[in-house]
Amino acid sequence: MSANILNFFIFPGGLFAVFFGLILISIERIMVARFQGRVGPVFYQNVIDIVKLFNKETLIPKDAKDFVFKFAPLFGFSGMLVLVYFLPVPGVYEGAKGDYDLVILIYFMALPAISHILGGGASSSPYAAISVSRELKLMLVYEFVFIVIGFTLAIYVGHGNGEFSLKKIMDYQMQNGYFLFDWKLWPAFIAFLIFVLATLEVPPFEVAHHNHADIMEGYLIEYSGAPLALFEITDALKIVVLSVVFQIFFFPNVIGGDVVVNLLWFIVKTMFLVVFISLAHACLASFRADQEFKFLIKVPVMLSLTSLVLVILSIKGLI
């Protein structure tokens, strides 16, 4: 189906993405609990959390910047909502067709981190200030990894010229084999998985927020009530967007032409990503800020640059 206003609000943007994302976060919590030998919550736990947060009162600290504090969550929320409307889901939804989708994707992917930084900076708390400085430092590195991966794919599909349309990336894979099985792009695939862990702030990359050890919730420490609910919804939308991006970049497999069958296949592929995220969450300890920076500069950046070099060499005909 092609994009119209109903797609923005109901399916697959809007309500469907919000509920699907909240259920995915609850399933990730259940998987982490099972790996640790516990039972874990119900599968719709985060939906109840959001309903409860809308029923509590909102407290604003005295020294906070009022306007920025109240409206900071809207940046990330609106950015993710627009992305869910824009991106094509293979076999189910065509997206808002355009020739420069990839550039818009790269820009909007950074918006939730911007809203964290604005919200944390506007609350007048030292915990939030430390968390904002850590988040700024780390955002530079992992956004750079994502840009290099996107650029690599654009050059590969366009044979030397940049091809920034996501539909053409998917069509190229349908004809010439999926990028998941292409040996030149395996380093980019591993770098993308590390990017997913870093941008969702899941251990081992948990130092900027929610690690309860030194900064006690980080930039969210002064939020309560409805703005906090918007931050949680943004997190839920981000996991849906990352799953869609993962499938467009590496594995846009389609079964037949039926929408319902392709939707179920999309959900199954998302579950693999969620299992990987929860395995990393349960098994790994968290980095310090300087260790994480050194790791992110060395491993994912080198891997994505390796992929870029291999792709350039293959276009010139040397491999």
């Binding site: 609990a33 309903v51 409860k52 009162e57 309860h212 309560s224 906090l228």
Partner: protein, 142 residues
């Protein structure tokens, strides 16, 4: 609206306790044996996210200003649970020069769980009773 009471967020504060009750609170959340996440609870790091406040320790004179700050920052509706004998009635430290009295003097407490320390199962009982009182407070606030 009783579905709201299936996801309480817990915040705990230690006002000078011997850490016996804090060890029991840590076991109800983190070790696999007495998992409290089955009831939908989650420990948070900030009192502004909290629904249930768990207080341990008799209120020593040094920790009284911090407790009063935390009590100001709780968004309504919330419930307060006094864990252990010390915040309920100061226990064996009554009439000491360094103790500023039981928790009743500063805020209206909802559930008491005496014990030195109380068993994790007794703390889960106390949290379940607090959820019932919270449901009643939500209905009264509407």
């Amino acid at each position: 609206m009783s579905i709201i009471t299936r996801s309480p967020f817990l915040f705990r504060i230690n006002t000078g306790s011997c850490n016996g009750c804090d060890v029991e609170l840590a076991t109800t959340a983190m070790i696999p044996r007495y998992d409290v996440e089955r009831l939908g609870c989650r420990y948070t790091g900030s009192p502004k996210h909290a629904d249930i406040l768990l207080v341990t320790g008799p209120i020593t004179a040094r920790s009284k200003p911090y407790l009063l700050e935390v009590l100001d920052e709780l968004p309504r509706p919330f419930v307060v649970v006094a864990v252990g004998t010390c915040p309920t009635s100061c226990g064996i430290f009554r009439d000491s020069y360094a103790i500023e009295g039981p928790l009743d003097k500063y805020i209206q407490v909802d559930v008491n769980v005496p014990g030195c320390p109380p068993r994790p199962q007794a703390i889960i009982d106390g949290v379940a009773k607090a959820l019932e009182i919270w449901k009643q407070k939500i209905r009264d606030m509407k």
